[in-house]
């Protein structure tokens, strides 16, 4: 027997949340060129667009912040002048995590909408922000290293 509730309108006054998405394969390039930050920013934006659960978004953000923390700890511990390689490895690893976490929602989006948002300009901006962020992280990490070194 049909539940009459199903035939009540949902859209007249309710929210319409049509999914949007970047091509999630492109996260790799964000990680490769910009490190953790661009993947975190655009990947999280994508997760919200794809209507991923709040729990999943929190887990993805948590993983991103953990990687940023690890990077800072690495510089603070070693006093390294550059995190270019580490940043790329972490960025690509995070891109793999974001892609894996969003693959089912992205499949749903591809079938029902079938169109991706262009990522180039936002991606470029996020990559520049990622490089600036890494420089800041190195400066801060070295500062911490020097304090403990002198101490």
């Amino acid at each position: 027997m049909l539940n009459r509730e199903l035939l009540q309108p949902s859209l007249a006054n309710g929210e319409i949340r049509v999914t949007k998405s970047y091509d999630i394969d492109r996260f790799f390039y964000l990680g490769f060129f910009g490190g953790v930050l661009p993947v975190m920013i655009l990947g999280t934006r994508n997760a919200i667009w794809l209507r991923c659960s709040k729990k999943m978004i929190a887990m993805l953000l948590g993983t991103s912040l953990l990687l940023c923390g690890l990077k800072l700890a690495y510089v603070a511990w070693t006093g390294a002048d550059s995190v270019a390689l580490l940043s790329r490895i972490m960025g690509v690893a995070l891109a793999v995590v974001y892609r894996y976490a969003q693959r089912k929602r992205y499949k749903l989006h591809s079938v029902i909408i079938g169109e991706d948002q262009p990522i180039f300009w936002w991606g470029l901006l996020a990559v520049v922000a990622g490089i600036v962020f890494d420089s800041w992280l190195v400066t801060m990490g070295k500062g911490i290293h020097d304090v403990f070194d002198q101490g």
Partner: protein
């Protein structure tokens, strides 16, 4: 030429035959002379609206469908058609109104339940969408329209085995060879078999030569399978850029440990240009198309 609609009229029979075969461009051409004499024929207006919709002429389709309602043709199929037209135009709230108006006339209409369910899926009401789809499958599991939407539900949730079963059922009951070929093409695309998909679409286009969206789909597949994109396909088939990058970094580290700097250098000289090529291949493809060298 003015024609009177009559089931014994050869031109009318021909138009209906083309319509049921899914050859909408030709069917519409055959229907139009009848409209000149039967402008108040709601069912005829609906047929023309449906053909226009299938030919991606949304504004024209909406005009004819609304005209059908205006002249008093209140069949559920008109509400259904207006609903899917509004959905295609992004007027989701209006689409819901039409689907609910149709369901108010007949709450057991499987086609409308499936279409309304799909609208709910698109607009973010996934639980309601699943319940509506289940209800549509319960009341009318043999309907072509219900199976069409059920197939897309299964694709959306990536239920591969159930998709094959639904396609089999769909092909048993679908009246239009064009629609059958489109489903088979879509299934081939999902499997990554672009050549099989292209062949299905090509055959569908031969049956329905006026179908412009089908032509675009064939052109898109032609782009994907073009030789220019062979390196991109190779990379995707072998795990994608991430896997290649990890292998590259791993190999460079390994060669470094083994003091094989020369091998690491050669690898980098092959890998880096290969990657750059995969990034710029869309531009190369456009240039190749522009110059018409590989037509």
């Amino acid at each position: 030429m003015y024609l009177i609609r009559d089931d014994n009229n050869v031109a009318w029979q021909e138009a209906m035959h083309l319509y049921h075969m899914g050859r909408y461009e030709q069917a519409k051409e055959k229907f139009m002379p009848f409209l000149a004499t039967s402008q108040e024929d709601g069912q005829l207006l609906f047929f023309v609206a449906y053909c226009s919709f299938k030919l991606d002429q949304l504004d024209e389709a909406e005009t004819f469908a609304r005209e059908a309602l205006r002249v008093g043709y209140f069949g559920e199929e008109v509400y259904s058609l207006l609903g899917i037209i509004c959905k295609a135009k992004g007027a989701y709230a209006e689409a819901e109104e039409f689907f609910l108006a149709g369901l108010a006339k007949n709450p057991q209409d499987g086609d409308l339940l499936a279409q309304y369910g799909y609208l709910m899926l698109v607009t973010g009401y996934e639980e309601k969408a699943k319940l509506l789809m289940a209800e549509a499958m319960r009341v009318d599991p043999e309907s072509e329209v219900v199976l069409h939407y059920h197939y897309h539900f299964l694709r959306a949730y990536d239920e591969v085995e159930a998709q094959q079963e639904t396609i089999r059922k769909y092909n048993e009951i679908a009246g239009s060879d064009v629609d059958k070929l489109l489903k088979m093409g879509l299934a081939a695309l999902d499997r990554g078999n672009y050549r099989e998909a292209r062949e299905c679409y090509r055959q569908a286009y031969l049956l329905d030569p006026g179908n412009e969206p089908l032509l675009y789909a064939i052109e898109e597949i032609d782009e994907i399978i073009h030789p220019v994109f062979f390196p991109n396909r190779l990379m995707q088939k072998t795990g994608g850029p991430v896997v290649w990058w990890i292998c590259f970094i791993g190999a460079v580290f390994l060669f470094g440990k083994l003091d094989w700097e020369g091998a690491a250098g050669v690898l980098a000289m092959v890998y880096v240009p290969f990657c750059i090529y995969t990034w710029i291949s869309p531009f190369i493809y456009r240039a190749v198309r522009k110059w018409g060298r590989y037509r």
